[in-house]
Symmetry: C2
């Protein structure tokens, strides 16, 4: 989202910190992704931003939803979204949450272990399951490598085991890592998924029908990114090449950040500027515990300071408002040299994984989200 | 807090994850700290755990309170605690929060910069201010070194400037870092504070009256710690030695973790155990976004698994319930070899900085806190 004079005007109405969201941009993002490939099914990853307006806008566009917990299922049900449109994509599910999902007609479940299969067989008998393949993720900003997924041989074993448990071995998923810059990562994963399809058909008489490409498509921050069309083309061509033999194939994506990240801006205010020894410090009213948690892994946002867009910059340390040193956003960041108390900072493309990470630490409320009408 | 059969019985009443708190242990902790030195004034750091029962118990014991924001002031006022018993210890305060504090009779404010002094002069005229000295903190688990405090010369300049602004230059504070193991750190800081008292009296005709020792006293986790009495004795002797010339001296401490950390236990349940490649993984229903944020800096809790206390252990990766790789608690931790779904894990001495750091990420509610009657 561009930070324009209109945004400055709207921002005057609210007390900082807050996130401004523009659902019209969300419609554009949805259409753009949907058009990269025929029959691409979009399951929005609700965890990125669960604001009801975002959910409703995407539902109206025809989106399905990737959900992580009973809490997210309940939210979507309360907005009139049926369970059939949801996929339970978390490989770590409470048994009673699986039962709740099954009661509410959720049909697809993610797994990467035997025990998870058994939980699903016991609580959602006969359901479709897809197994998550472990990918390396060296080319992403927010790696997802170790906790989820498993290797090809194990994925195959799991899907065979699923059949034995009376479940439907349905497909393969992977996640190349959030903010992945290298489009060939998707190709690499698709080749591996095709191998699983092939082996299961050839040796186990199991015909999978679904490939779930996960999320990970990047949005613009401070580094150049491949465009969604470019990644989409890579995916389309790879699927055409490696899945030519698969008769019925559903292709699913689970965009989170790439769907909502750039539809909003985090607006904060400078509380204090100070000089200590050789360092200049700027303190703002959002921070690691209040919307900017991803910066602990040095996730870099583009920052605009209202009224000082063209000013010469200097190097500052930027920190949040709490009594905790971990609440330091950037040890070094360029900001306008005259930055001072009361200045408003706009963190661009900050609608994903910001409000969702908020705490009330230090008695300070997390940023609110407001919708641009 | 010891994890006994009684705790196991009580834990059966609640759905995991949750923190069990025992206010009787809090009374013991308060009395123990208060007895290390005559006239030691205790300002409990509310940010460590702001549960109303904790605040009320400490108030009844005679505690004062170190607060970080308007939200914490409002909480304490709602519990009948007057502003005179609060110190505004955050060096990063919103101007309107300072005004609110002043209206509500808060008398003492922390600073480490000129601009903060000016904000206080404008919004809380005539108030007492204390300046925060920057300490190195190599011997602590959760460092506080860079964001807060400033050097001796700057502290002196700030307190002189305070006088010029019509404020009362009142004292010096420092923080040796959370979970500090080296008692000599307090002595080192006291020597530096004494130097500031001396110089201001000798050259500026300013007589400071207060030294604020901050927090940082450790509680038992997996490493041996110095006892509170041992640190207390070091503090007492250092003050007697280096502040012998100061006629009126208030000595303040701001315990957070050391006051509440060991009065509670975080109770969680295993959702899933899996084996991937060569690693064994255990997933529980609390995690980095749900009470265990401090583990991202490898903060180590002692963990008890109910019914498997005496079992042989193996090495596991331990992770939380969300779809985020950052939500990995420990890459390697010893747990009973037979650990499996449904087992209850008790994180000992986990009453500080756990509930306060909770988010609702992935639609999963943060741990609740329950009081042991």
């Amino acid at each position: 989202m561009e930070v324009t004079n209109t945004i400055y005007e709207i921002a005057k109405n609210y007390e900082t910190p807050f996130v401004l969201l523009d659902p019209k941009l969300l419609e554009t993002n949805y259409k753009r992704l949907a058009s990269v490939m025929d029959n691409l099914e979009i399951y929005y990853a609700v965890k990125a931003n669960s604001h009801p307006e975002i959910i409703k806008t995407l539902f109206n566009q025809g989106s399905h939803f990737d959900i992580a917990s009973r809490g997210e299922i309940e939210l979507l049900l309360s907005l009139g979204i049926p369970g059939q449109l949801m996929s339970f994509g978390n490989t770590i599910k409470k048994e009673k949450d699986i039962a709740f999902a099954y009661e509410n007609k959720i049909e697809m479940y993610s797994v990467d272990s035997e025990m998870e299969l058994e939980k699903i067989a016991n609580n959602a008998p006969g359901s479709k399951v897809y197994a998550r393949l472990l990918m390396s993720s060296d080319d992403s900003d927010w790696p997802l490598s170790k906790k989820f997924g498993t290797d090809i041989d194990h994925v195959i074993q799991l899907l065979v085991h699923a059949k034995g448990l009376g479940l439907i071995p349905y497909g393969v998923s992977f996640h190349v890592g959030s903010q992945t810059y290298n489009k060939y990562k998707w190709k690499e994963a698709i080749v591996q998924a095709a191998e699983i399809f092939y082996q299961l058909k050839e040796y186990e008489n199991i015909e999978l029908e679904m490939i779930n490409l996960g999320g990970g498509m990047p949005i613009q921050h401070t580094r150049p990114i491949p465009q969604i069309e470019e990644i989409g083309l890579m995916i389309k061509e790879s699927i055409e090449e490696y899945f030519a033999d698969v008769k019925r194939l559903r292709v699913i994506v689970e965009p989170g950040r790439s769907m909502v990240g750039d539809i909003g801006v985090l607006v904060t205010e400078v509380i204090l500027r100070s000089r200590k020894q050789k360092d200049n410090w700027v303190y703002i009213d959002a921070g690691v515990f209040h919307g900017l948690l991803e910066t602990i892994e040095d996730f870099r946002y583009e920052i605009i300071v209202e009224g000082k867009e063209e000013e010469e910059t200097g190097i500052f340390s930027l920190a949040g408002p709490t009594c905790d040193s971990v609440d330091t956003i950037y040890d070094e960041v360029e900001l306008p040299v005259s930055i001072t108390m009361g200045d408003k900072l706009y963190f661009k493309n900050a609608a994903a994984y910001t409000v969702e990470y908020g705490t009330t630490f230090n008695g300070i409320k997390p940023p609110k989200a407001y919708i641009i009408q």
